[in-house]
């Protein structure tokens, strides 16, 4: 199988090296279709980015791209300070980071055990994890809400924060575990055997030898988890009750609504960009890893 892949890649490389006008012309319709789509994407994001440095008046006059009155960084400053964006941003950063770390601590050992040991429930656990990825959130939200409301968690800031993080972790446990499982099953078991002969206990072996060997999988899945938690909306909407607790996605929604009334369009676009930037920057540097990670686990 991998050989075939290599062949394809080599062929692709060969093709790349020679510039063949006839071939390029034949591909022209393809280029045009993709270019239209790509240009549209750039215009969409680029315009919003430009408008975030403009003023509401200029935007409404259709002059957002002319910057007649210069660049207005104050849109960002205003959104950041007066519109709670700083609070939402910090919240999201805290939620995403802690959730990602917890997810690895919880899922990596589980994935390892599931990939290595044969026990009765192994297959059952794996199948239920996979199946749970297809369950709509709406199926789990009501009982969770009733428990959390009953425990009076929604009125205590710290408890509410911790609950949110635990929810983000829980929702992503099946995906993370299954993702890491494939990584661990690709590592040869001869390493553990060697470690066992040297007298290293199995748990120690895992943390000192196996876990570092799977680091590429760990990093990829952490990127996914970060983006997922950062963009998570529905659960945050229900379980983050006050502005003090809201992550960016929900915060942005309430901000957009209020800015429509105050008519601060430039400020609204600035807030959109602030929410968009972190995941965008991650993507800018790691798009290749994200794309290969995404398609790696998919089987035809």
């Amino acid at each position: 199988m991998p050989k075939v892949k290599e062949n394809v890649r080599e062929n692709a490389k060969e093709r790349k090296e020679r510039f063949n006008l006839k071939k390029e012309l034949r591909l022209a319709p393809g280029y045009i279709i993709l270019l239209i789509w790509v240009i549209f994407t750039f215009v969409l994001i680029g315009w919003v980015f430009a408008a975030s440095f403009s003023t509401t008046k200029e935007i409404f006059n259709g002059e957002a791209l002319k910057f007649k009155s210069g660049l207005h960084f104050e849109n960002y400053i205003k959104a950041w300070t007066s519109q709670n964006v700083s609070v939402f941003f910090t919240n999201s950063l805290i939620y995403s980071t802690i959730s990602c770390v917890l997810l690895i601590l919880v899922c990596a050992p589980a994935a390892y055990v599931l990939s290595r040991f044969d026990f009765i429930a192994n297959k059952l656990i794996q199948t239920s994890f996979v199946a749970s990825m297809g369950v709509p959130v709406i199926m789990v939200i009501l009982p969770l809400f009733s428990i959390i409301a009953k425990l009076d968690i929604l009125n205590h800031v710290m408890a509410n924060r911790i609950t949110l993080i635990l929810l983000y972790v829980g929702i992503n446990v099946p995906y993370t575990t299954i993702f890491l499982l494939t990584y661990f099953s690709n590592i040869s078991s001869s390493y553990e055997q060697a470690a066992a002969i040297d007298g290293c206990g199995p748990m120690k072996t895992f943390w000192l030898i196996m876990f570092p060997m799977a680091n590429s999988g760990v990093i990829t899945v952490t990127i996914f988890n970060f983006i997922n938690v950062w963009n998570e909306y529905f659960m945050s909407l229900i379980f983050a009750n006050s502005n003090q607790l809201r992550p960016v996605a929900v915060g942005l929604y309430s901000m957009i609504n209020s800015m429509k009334y105050t008519g601060d369009w430039a400020g609204m676009f600035a807030s959109v960009i602030i929410v968009f930037l972190p995941t965008f920057i991650i993507y800018l540097f790691l798009s290749k890893r994200i794309i290969t990670g995404l398609t790696g686990g998919i089987k035809g």
């Binding site: 892949k5 062949n7 093709r15 790349k16 591909l27 393809g30 993709l34 789509w37 790509v38 994407t41 750039f42 969409l44 994001i45 315009w47 601590l105 919880v106 899922c107 050992p109 390892y112 055990v113 599931l114 026990f119 656990i125 749970s132 297809g134 369950v135 709509p136 959130v137 709406i138 199926m139 789990v140 009501l142 009982p143 969770l144 409301a149 009953k150 829980g170 446990v173 199995p202 895992f206 983006i227 529905f234 996605a249 942005l252 929604y253 369009w265 609204m268 676009f269 959109v272 929410v275 968009f276 995941t279 965008f280 991650i282 794309i291 995404l294 398609t295 998919i298 089987k299 035809g300």
Partner: protein
């Protein structure tokens, strides 16, 4: 071996605890709730009253819920056709040996990593804006004044505006799945087909498509799962609560349980649970149908 046992238990317990408390227990409880009338969502089980299938019957008879299901069906079916067609087209182009393949692929996938709220706002406040929006400007430059005057987010056009904006964001993900499927097809098949005199279109029809069956299944399943949870886009495109043009079951359930009391007369958390169960049944149904009709490839490739 005994050592291993303790290790298995230690390593699995945290993940299983999370799984049981966030998936297994809530799913079972939601299922049970759907057969009960529950006044307040936090009511203890002793206050629930068993009503059998009443919740299901009531929901089916509620016109707002029926509308929401119809909307979701249109999003799933029409949006699905559009997204799959575009995703497959892009995937075929990207694997046809073009230059800048990586670049095109990453840009097309880009919308998927943007927060749905941010992306929907970009569409709503820029592309569809009647005063300074992209569409208005394009049609104005083309002197198509009739088209330029369309209010894209009014009641008449809202659903389609929502559908296109949503699909734009979804194409990239499904394209990646198609690309990985096409790349796994051995080039020998194409070589053989070329020798036999099949042109590119025939090759696509008789080699690529049949070998992508499994990938199609993955794509349809993923599309159905994400569609079932359709919520953010609907909420952002609705100007009033219970907007019949854009409401989806998830929004209906949210209104039913968590607010907007004026549109829904009866307070019954059981109904909300029933919405969840009905959606899950549809996901399972689609999955089963896919498995029945799209046989797994017995071909090795």
């Amino acid at each position: 071996m005994k050592k291993n046992k303790t290790m298995i238990v230690c390593f699995l317990t945290p993940a299983l605890l999370f799984f049981i408390s966030i998936f297994v227990y809530p799913i079972c409880r939601t299922l049970i709730m759907s057969f009960f009338k529950i006044e307040g969502i936090t009511d203890s089980v002793s206050k629930w009253s068993f009503v059998g299938l009443d919740n299901y019957i009531k929901l089916i008879k509620t016109s707002l819920f029926a509308t929401s299901m119809w909307n979701l069906f249109r999003i799933w079916f029409l949006g699905g056709l559009l997204v799959m067609a575009l995703a497959l087209l892009f995937a075929v182009i990207i694997t046809s040996g073009i230059r800048f393949k990586e670049f095109f692929r990453s840009v097309i996938y880009l919308p998927n990593i943007i927060s749905a709220v941010a992306l929907a706002t970009m569409w709503l406040q820029y592309v569809y804006n009647p005063r300074f929006g992209l569409l208005t400007n394009i049609f104005k430059t083309l002197r198509l004044n009739k088209l330029a005057a369309i209010q894209w987010t009014d009641n008449e056009h809202k659903f389609w505006a929502l559908l296109f904006a949503y699909c734009f964001g979804m194409v990239g993900y499904h394209m990646l799945i198609f690309v990985s499927g096409i790349e796994r097809i051995s080039p020998e098949y194409y070589e053989a087909a070329t020798i036999d005199g099949a042109n590119k279109i025939k090759q696509f029809r008789y080699v690529t498509l049949p070998l992508l069956r499994g990938v199609f299944k993955t794509n349809v399943t993923m599309w159905s799962v994400t569609s079932a949870g359709f919520f953010v886009w609907s909420q952002l495109f609705s100007t009033v609560t219970a907007d019949t043009r854009t409401i989806t079951p998830m929004v209906y359930m949210y209104m039913q349980i968590f607010g907007a009391g004026n549109t829904i007369t009866e307070r019954n958390a059981g109904l909300g649970a029933t919405v969840g169960v009905i959606l899950s049944i549809f996901v399972v149904l689609i999955f089963t149908i896919c498995n029945r009709f799209i046989k797994d490839d017995d071909l090795e490739f």
